[in-house]
Amino acid sequence: MRFYEYESRRIVERAGIPVTRYGFCTTAEAAREVAAEIGGPVVIKSQVLTGGRMKAGGVKFADTPEEAAEHAAAILDLAINGHAPRGVLVDPKAEVAQEYYASVIWDGTVKRPMMLFSDMGGIDIEEVAASHPDHVGRGHLSNLLPVSDFHAKQVIARTGVTGSELTRATPILARLARLMRDCDMTLAEINPLARLDDGSFVALDAHMEMENEAKPRQKELLEELGIEAQDTREPYEPSDFERNVKAIDAADHRGVIQGKDHGFSGNLGLVIGAGGGSLTLTDAVRSQGGKPANYTEIGGNPSVAKACGLAKEVLRKDGVEKIAVMMSIVSNTRVDIVARGVIKACLELGRDPAETIAVFRIPGAWEEEGEKILRRYGVEYCDRSVSMWDAAGRAVAKIQEGT
């Protein structure tokens, strides 16, 4: 889960990393007041969960409170990459001597957190790493031992930074590393980290992302930031289909179903599973010229009601002509239960299962029983002798015959 800049700043602040005295505002009038309180040149920054703010006009400078209010009004109305801002951040314009970069991320290969530091801050770190590799310091942390300041010092020293710069930046990177671990962040980044004219360091911008799986145990932090449980920060607004599938899944603890249709708009409804099977089958449909209307995952042996609910939601989607019910070989989910569910969905919507179900390919547990049920309604059953690719191909061929 990604945090807004104003939240990320609060997170670094509570970890003991200095930040400028900023104000988060949702109205132009509030921005005027904060600017007046700061009493000097300010910067107004759009609070959106997307990059490229500067280019899009979401960051502006103001010399007076009136100008700050004007800019705030414009920025509050400006959507960036389809994201409406949640507010603006009003920040004193800092007298910066030099900009640095500091972050801590997971290195999945080494399976440890990795610290990154550069004395070329303010720009994209990947660019710096490519053009000036000697200006990027890296170092891994143990997962079991406490973070000690010397770990941070080594990383910073690798960029050639020394003197009071080194001694003042060291605790900042060490604190960032501790907060990354303590708060279950997948990314903890300060860019730019600024050295001011007086030699002190402040975080001018921060970007934090928390692992979704850790949200339950980070409840206290999330509450402190005023983030509500339903504020999931998806990269886009969930559709009716996605919301309905979620509700059906939550209503019954047996099995797990998921549905997504963001970016899909075809005529073939997919009632598919499990995790890897769904990925494989979606590719197989698309590679053979099919147009999926959605993506789904069935797993963990859902009830008839759940399978039925999922199939109904898929069938109700605009433009869906037929559904393909397909999974990789199942060992936990029962073939007969999914068969009952999808047939029930067809019947309850007044559709002929034999016409509506383009293909049913789920081999595995209780397949004999599943096949019997399907035959009764004239639906052809494919066992494991029909490959996932061929099953997807049959579904595509059937829907193309009809059009």
């Binding site: 339950p216 997504k260 890897g276 099977g277 979606t282 999974m327 070989i329 936990n332 595995g364 002798s385």
Partner: protein, 305 residues
């Protein structure tokens, strides 16, 4: 031979009284695996399909008179780290973590402790591993009769980030007359105990194994790591890969994860297209269809179809 498991291999189930764990225990016993004990705190004295339940891992070791070789851990995410630490500190050497939705920090801690103690972790978010007709450790393949349909002994090592696809691929190989030496569901999370590259030396040392088949997905650097390993170690084993989730490369799917938590694309190297190029660059063919795998393997090991 095989990797990791053998006929003598003994293991326990931590969280054995949970609904899924009860089924898993039954399946493993039916397949002929030696499940010698179970642990659920506070449930000492019970039995699950004849397997005695204890409060601690140490109690199991005391009761049977030796430290079992492995443990299948299937406890809720908030308690998994403690259970795995307990198993490692009791001296257990192979730990299969079934649990999903464990925060990365916990996984990384478990993996680091395992490394310090010489233990190995498979998973989390996996179905375990199987040596056909010898031992099944975890829910892989399902009930014994279903597992017997899909898996047959042979020369192919299988590694997969998807539990279900481990069985689909093995079944496809079996139907084409290619049995498996060992099939491992390595887990679908961003950080896992044993990656492809980390299991390769074991397959390399196993005389029975003649080729490797892997199932891969977008997200992470595990495939790049394998490609590097293959280049650095003149492996005797040909590898055939299948890449699922190619559709995730399209522009409108950016920032989304599908299927498994680990499919989240966090860097430029994580996409399906990029991974296919890397694998092929290391001489690993990436097929587009599961049903193309057997012929691709036969071509590599010189068996005519």
């Amino acid at each position: 031979m095989s990797i990791l498991l053998s006929e003598e291999f003994t293991f326990i189930v931590q969280g054995i009284t949970g609904r899924e764990a009860v089924n898993l225990t039954r399946e493993c016993l039916d397949y002929g695996s030696r499940v010698v004990g179970g642990v659920t705190p506070g449930r000492k004295g019970r039995e699950v399909h004849g397997v005695p339940v204890f409060d601690t891992v140490q109690q199991v070791a005391d009761a049977v008179g030796y430290v079992p070789n492995g443990s299948v851990v299937t406890v809720p995410p908030a308690f998994t780290k403690d259970a795995v630490f307990e198993a490692i500190e009791a001296g257990i050497e192979l730990i299969v973590i079934v649990t999903e939705r464990i925060p990365r920090r916990d996984v990384a801690e478990m993996v680091e402790l395992a490394g310090m103690r010489g233990a190995r972790i498979i998973g989390p978010n996996c179905l375990g591993l199987i040596v056909p007709e010898v031992c099944k450790m975890g829910g892989i393949g399902g009930p014994a009769k279903d597992a017997a349909k899909a898996y047959a002994p042979g020369a192919i090592g299988v590694m997969s980030r998807s539990g279900g696809m481990t069985t689909e691929i093995s079944s496809t190989l079996t139907a084409a007359g290619l049995g498996q030496s060992t099939a491992v569901s390595i887990g679908g999370d961003a950080i896992i105990g044993s990656t492809y590259a980390e299991l390769m030396p074991l397959f390399e040392a196993d005389e029975q194994t003649e080729a490797i088949v892997i199932y891969t997905e977008p997200g992470g650097r595990m495939e790049a790591q394998l490609a590097e390993w293959v280049k650095d170690n003149r492996s005797r084993l040909p590898i055939v890969a299948f890449m699922a989730g190619r559709f995730m490369d399209s522009e409108e799917m950016k920032g989304m994860s599908f299927g498994h938590a680990g499919t989240i694309v966090e860097g430029a190297e994580d996409t399906a297209t990029e991974k296919i190029a890397r694998l092929e660059g290391a001489g690993i063919p990436v097929v587009e269809r599961i049903d193309e795998i057997p012929d691709a393997v036969k071509e590599k090991i010189g068996v005519t179809a």
